[in-house]
């Protein structure tokens, strides 16, 4: 499965790719909001007016790809929470109007498969279409589904993405379980933070995946995942994925870690980078965009550019540089709350 096109809305200047030239947006906050394009320039007003943020971001990144590729035969999305802003608007209506006469738009737009449905409608794509809502592995699930579709010869071009929005809903609820930092953190200091909690991020990253293209950014080789593992299970999961692809640990020249500044969860990342892959270049990504359940979609966006040779931004995410190695195979390792753990393997 090869990435042949990609688009990202994030808290960095990724939509028009100024970020790739090294332009970095600094944050000193507990919440890193996205930088959005001017949607009205390319999303029909009649549709845009209904869209909550998640759907806007999903369509904002997906629609340009749909327009460039009129032969998409599958759409697969990963979003843990869907349209939360619309969800809470509808919820508030239920309580405030005591289950009386309520407006339906919020309900319809809050459903997690609204993005996949909207993109299918706008692109008139009647192929396979599904949405994964599996928390911190929703995007990994989407990738695996894509790999299976290609393996089974079921299609030749897939639109695949990860979306998550910040709204009062997830921020408040996640705050109640102490997910976030108590005070603002500079993103340049996030990875080295020694306090509990992380910062809240959001974003949408979309990819065109093809089976046998001539030109591409990167190859997605495989995906691995495990929930509630111990450290042995985690290593086993990683090794099984490598074995499946006839690889060893030494074949991984670069590991991209989901370090998020939460001191309580660093040990998993230390285990992978020091114990399992001590020779690899080590990169981060959450210092750019904060943490959210489908943020490995952004990690894939970064990795794809790195593997294509766009490395100007690498200083912003380099944690450990190992001598001599060129970046040709990247393993992304991430966990969410140390419960759901995922691996994504990419190569040049």
């Amino acid at each position: 499965m090869y990435i042949t096109d990609l688009k990202a809305i994030s808290s960095q200047l990724t939509y028009k790719e100024e970020f790739l030239k090294g332009e970095l947006v600094a944050y000193d906050d507990k919440v890193y909001n996205v930088i959005e394009p001017d949607y009205i320039e390319f999303i029909p007003k009649g549709l845009l007016r209904r869209m909550g943020k998640a759907v806007r971001m999903g369509v904002g990144t997906g629609l340009p790809l749909v327009k460039e590729n009129n032969d998409i035969d599958a759409i697969i999305m990963g979003t843990a929470n869907g349209g939360l802003e619309d969800c809470i608007k509808f919820l508030n209506q239920i309580v405030e109007y005591d289950e009386g006469v309520l407006t339906p738009t919020n309900f319809v737009q809050s459903t997690p498969n609204a993005v996949a449905g909207q993109l299918a409608l706008m692109g008139q794509c009647k192929g396979y279409n599904t949405t994964y809502t599996n928390g911190g592995l929703a995007f990994e699930n989407a990738l695996l589904d894509g790999l299976l579709l290609f393996q089974q010869g079921a299609c030749s071009k897939i639109l695949l993405g990860g979306i998550e929005e910040i709204s009062d809903y997830n921020y408040n609820i996640d705050s109640l379980v102490n997910k976030y930092k108590e005070t603002a953190v500079k993103n340049s200091e996030l990875i080295d933070a020694t306090t509990p909690g992380t910062v809240c991020g959001e974003g949408a990253c979309m990819f065109i995946m093809e089976r046998n293209p001539k030109n591409y950014y990167a190859k997605i080789e495989d995906v691995g995942q495990i929930t509630y593992p111990n450290k042995e299970d985690l290593a086993y999961c990683m090794d099984e994925m490598l074995k499946r692809n006839k690889l060893n640990r030494s074949d991984i020249d670069t590991v991209m870690l989901g370090l998020n500044g939460d001191i309580n969860h660093n040990d998993w990342y230390t285990h992978v980078s020091e114990d399992l892959l001590p020779e690899a270049n080590t990169l981060s990504f959450k210092n750019l965009i904060g943490d959210y359940r489908t943020c490995t979609s952004f990690a894939v966006w970064l990795a794809a550019h790195l593997l294509k040779g766009n490395t100007e931004f690498i200083e912003t995410i380099q944690i450990r540089k190992s001598h001599s190695k060129k970046i040709s195979r990247i393993l992304i390792y991430n966990h969410f709350d140390a419960v759901r753990h995922g691996f994504i393997l990419l190569s040049a």
Binding site: I75, N81, C87, I88, F90, L91, N92, Q93, I94, V95, E99, G100, V101, P104, F107, V108, T111, P112, N113, A114, A116, G117, Q118, A120, L121, K126, G127, Y128, N129, T130, T131, Y132, T133, N134, G135, L137, A138, L144, D145, L148, Q151, Q152, D168, Y169, N172, I173, S175, L176, V177, Q225, I226, T227, Y228, P229, D233, Y236, C237, E240, V339, R340
Partner: protein
Amino acid sequence: MEKVYVTGIGIISAIGNNTDANHHSLLNAQSGIGKAKYFNSKYTSSLNFGEVDLSNDDLKRITNSSHQKGLSRTTLLAYSAFQQAIDHAKLDPAELSSFRTGFISSSTVGGMCNTDELYADANLKEEPSEFVRSYGGGEHTLRLIEKYGIKGFTSTINTACSSSANAIMLGARLIKSGRLDRVIVGGADSLAKYTVNGFNSLMILSENPCKPFDIHRDGLTLGEGAGYLVLEGESTCKNKMKLAEVLGYGNANDAHHPSATSDEAHGPRMAMERALASCKLPSDSIDYVNAHGTGTPNNDSTEMFAFHKTFGAIPPFNSTKSYTGHTLAASGAVEAIHSIISLCNMELYPSLNCAEPISDYNASPIREFKKLNNMKIVMSNSFGFGGSCTSLIFSKV
């Protein structure tokens, strides 16, 4: 490629708390739709629901989870059906915790059935409620993974009403790909103010028990439930009892409107055609169809049109939503299980509340109980908001 078999099923719905009870109700044309006893909403006096006849305390008792805090009704329903399925398939703890055993669930409501607590937590009104960690669609999946020590591939799907049908389809594909030996698939949804008010705001709920395929139908009846199937590859379940084979499956997107099917029924037709193509079967090999049949004016007429275009002669069909109501994400699995019950017993159950069927296509739903001794192949349809349409085909073993 490995054949995929169903080796266990577990179900809890308005027509029974287990498979035998569901079968008994279907056999006796006994609907489970009526006034809700446990669900709390302004609409419980005016609307009908397909409610599971157990309180949350009852569910905690039967699932041995009275000591656990923060379990939503969705999770409790899922616990019940999941335990039944793995018992039925006789899976031992080693098999459940194998890296080659997966679990794919689905839900639309998830923990949002605790609407009042969700409102309070989301708006930071009070101290965190006991449900503060349980709201997400994938949270019930986590509870089951933790409870049973599942280490293989796990996922949660939300494509509205086709969710658990898509879970079944993905599970079969994972086994055929060689990544898994076995996978438990299905979904759970409970009655919730969120969905009741959501569907009501779209004006697609009926005030009366739903009348699928009747010319006077005027909307759907909401239900709740959970259904799980244990799927195993042929080489894994050699000596096991097999209920059915997962023969084929197809998914398509209608690409027309967020909450209505196109008049041409592109999505439903393509889903059924792809399911048939996936197992290289002609349409006349289908002996029975468990329709999506929600009882809304739009769904039933477009689904019948889709039948007309897909089948030369429309096979016997019914909507078991006339028994259970629309169980949303769980409906794919609940109705797959009803189809398998039909298939294993070679029985066709009547579609209820259809006094005056739609007459456009020279076919009407099954009107009375019938034995069908040569029943071999059945189809089950699920069409959801966002245009997601899935069709599954099961065959007798």
